[in-house]
Every structure is written in structure tokens, then in C-alpha cells.
């Protein structure tokens, strides 16, 4: 009887996990026409390439659409402006950006302001010089870090 109960509990747990996994997988595997109006409004810069994105890429973009309404108008404008470039970055670049963003969030206000200034200075460097800096920098993360 005890064994039977244990098996029943295990079965319910496994079924719950299965249902959750299938629902998550299906949520990301949607075509552009299947998106809601609100999602299409946010993800509009990606309309032409949405159906070519892989499910895991769509899932990340849908997460962005989900968080979008929580922002003020200025932040929303920034998201729309940067979304296309973000979708075209490699998984490595995106993962690198996420980790750097976390580090940036932990900085003081002064440090953040200083970094913004530095970024503007860096943008003024000739593209050849920036390309050389990128080429000379070793990769920080391994393939295992990417998703």
C-alpha cells in the first residue's frame, strides 16, 4: 500500500513536470500571426524575421514583450530602438552583455555616469582601432555558458 502511494505521488509529480515542460515549449513555438496584438506592437521591429527565429530566441523575445508594459515611456522607446540589434547579436554576445549588465547594475550612480561618459569616448575612436581592441581581447566565456 505504501509502495502504491509512493508510485502514485511520483506519477502525479512527473505528469505535472511534463505538462509544465510542454506548455513552456509550446509557448515559444508561435508564429508571428499567432502573437497577441500587444506582443506584436512591442516586437514589431522583428516582424520580418520573427518566423526565422529559433524557439529559444522567440522565448527570450517574448520575455521582453512581457516585461515591456512594466516600463515607463522612455524605457519602452529604448527597448524598441535597440531590439533589432539585440536580436542580431550572437548568443555569445548576448550572454556577455547579460553578465556585464548585472555588473553594471551593482555599480554606484557615479560609476555608472562615468561609464556612460567612457562609452561615448570609446565611440569616438576610429572603427579600425575598436576592431583591433576586440580582436586582441580573449573570449571570457565558454560555449557552455551560452543559451
Amino acid at each position: 500500500m505504501v509502495g502504491y502511494q509512493l508510485k502514485l505521488k511520483s506519477l502525479i509529480f512527473v505528469l505535472a513536470l511534463l505538462v509544465y515542460g510542454v506548455s513552456v515549449a509550446n509557448a515559444a513555438d508561435v508564429s508571428w500571426s499567432e502573437l497577441s496584438d500587444a506582443q506584436r506592437k512591442v516586437l514589431n521591429p522583428l516582424a520580418s524575421e520573427w518566423d526565422t527565429l529559433r524557439p529559444w530566441q522567440r522565448e527570450k523575445m517574448l520575455d521582453i514583450a512581457k516585461d515591456y508594459p512594466k516600463m515607463n515611456a522612455d524605457k519602452q522607446a529604448l527597448v524598441k530602438e535597440r531590439l533589432t540589434n539585440w536580436s542580431r547579436m550572437t548568443p555569445y554576445e548576448r550572454e556577455n552583455a547579460r553578465k556585464r549588465h548585472q555588473q553594471f547594475n551593482a555599480l554606484s550612480t557615479d560609476k555608472k555616469a562615468e561609464l556612460r561618459k567612457k562609452w561615448l569616448e570609446y565611440q569616438k575612436l576610429p572603427e579600425s582601432e575598436r576592431a583591433k581592441l576586440r580582436a586582441d581581447s580573449p573570449d571570457t566565456y565558454t560555449d557552455a555558458d551560452l543559451n
Partner: protein
């Protein structure tokens, strides 16, 4: 009945008991001596049968002990009163209750970490003070180290 006849009957009864006892002793000796001379196959079968019988007895006693423990030591009976009795009588319901509590705990943990996730979500990265390119650019990181 005369006294001599009674005496005769007592002697005969004592003789019968003595003979019976002797016959029984002879039978035991005979069985013992034959038991020593049993063929190996028969001895093995007897040993197997004995093990089987002992095993069944042990199992039955263990089941009885388990049933007794379940009746008297069920965890939900700690609750006492009619609720403890109710849950004991509805084992599937108690299993579902445990799963429900686990799911609620999972939901609570997710809700508690929402604010942390929001700060680190891709949407907030895109709306950050720096563009995603700044975080992903290895050249910028290298340039910061030297400036």
C-alpha cells in the same frame, strides 16, 4: 472386582505406558538416524521449505507491525482529532495536499524573486543606460582597463 484383579490391571496399564514410551523413543531414534542419512537433494528441499516458511512468517509479522504503525503512528495523526482521522482515511487527498503545498511554495519563491529577475531581464538590459553593444563589446572592456 477383587484386589488381585485390580493389581493385574494396574500392572498391565503401566506395562502398556512403558511399551508405548519405548516405541515412541524407537521411532524418534529411527527418524533421527534416517535424517542423518537423507540424500543431499532431499535435505536441500527440506532446507528450502524451511527457509520459505520462515520467510513467510517474517513477512507476515512485518506486515502486521507496519499496519499497526500506520494505524497508530501516521504523521497526519499528529494533528489529532477528526482532521487527523479524516486525512488518514483519504490518502490520495493527503498526497494531493502535499503536492499543492509544494506548488504553492514554488510559486511563492518565484514571486519573491520576480523583482530580482526584472532587473536582470533582457528587457531591462535593452532599456539600460548603456546600449547592449556596450556590454557585449569586448573591445570596450579592454579599452576601459587601459583608460
Amino acid at each position: 472386582m477383587s484386589a488381585s484383579e485390580n493389581k493385574y490391571i494396574d500392572q498391565a496399564t503401566a506395562l502398556d505406558a512403558s511399551v508405548e514410551d519405548q516405541i515412541a523413543r524407537n521411532m524418534v531414534e529411527l527418524l533421527n538416524s534416517h535424517a542423518q542419512k537423507l540424500p543431499e537433494a532431499q535435505a536441500a528441499r527440506l532446507a528450502d521449505a524451511r527457509s520459505l516458511a520462515i520467510g513467510r512468517l517474517v513477512n507476515r509479522e512485518a506486515q502486521l507491525a507496519g499496519h499497526s504503525l500506520h494505524r497508530n503512528g501516521h504523521a497526519l495523526q499528529w494533528r489529532g482529532g477528526r482532521w487527523g482521522h479524516y486525512f488518514e482515511q483519504h490518502r490520495i487527498l493527503s498526497a494531493l495536499l502535499i503536492i499543492g503545498v509544494m506548488l504553492f511554495a514554488l510559486f511563492a519563491v518565484q514571486q519573491l524573486s520576480v523583482s530580482h529577475q526584472m532587473e536582470n531581464s533582457d528587457a531591462f538590459l535593452l532599456a539600460s543606460d548603456l546600449p547592449p553593444e556596450a556590454y557585449a563589446d569586448k573591445g570596450f572592456t579592454a579599452w576601459l582597463d587601459t583608460n
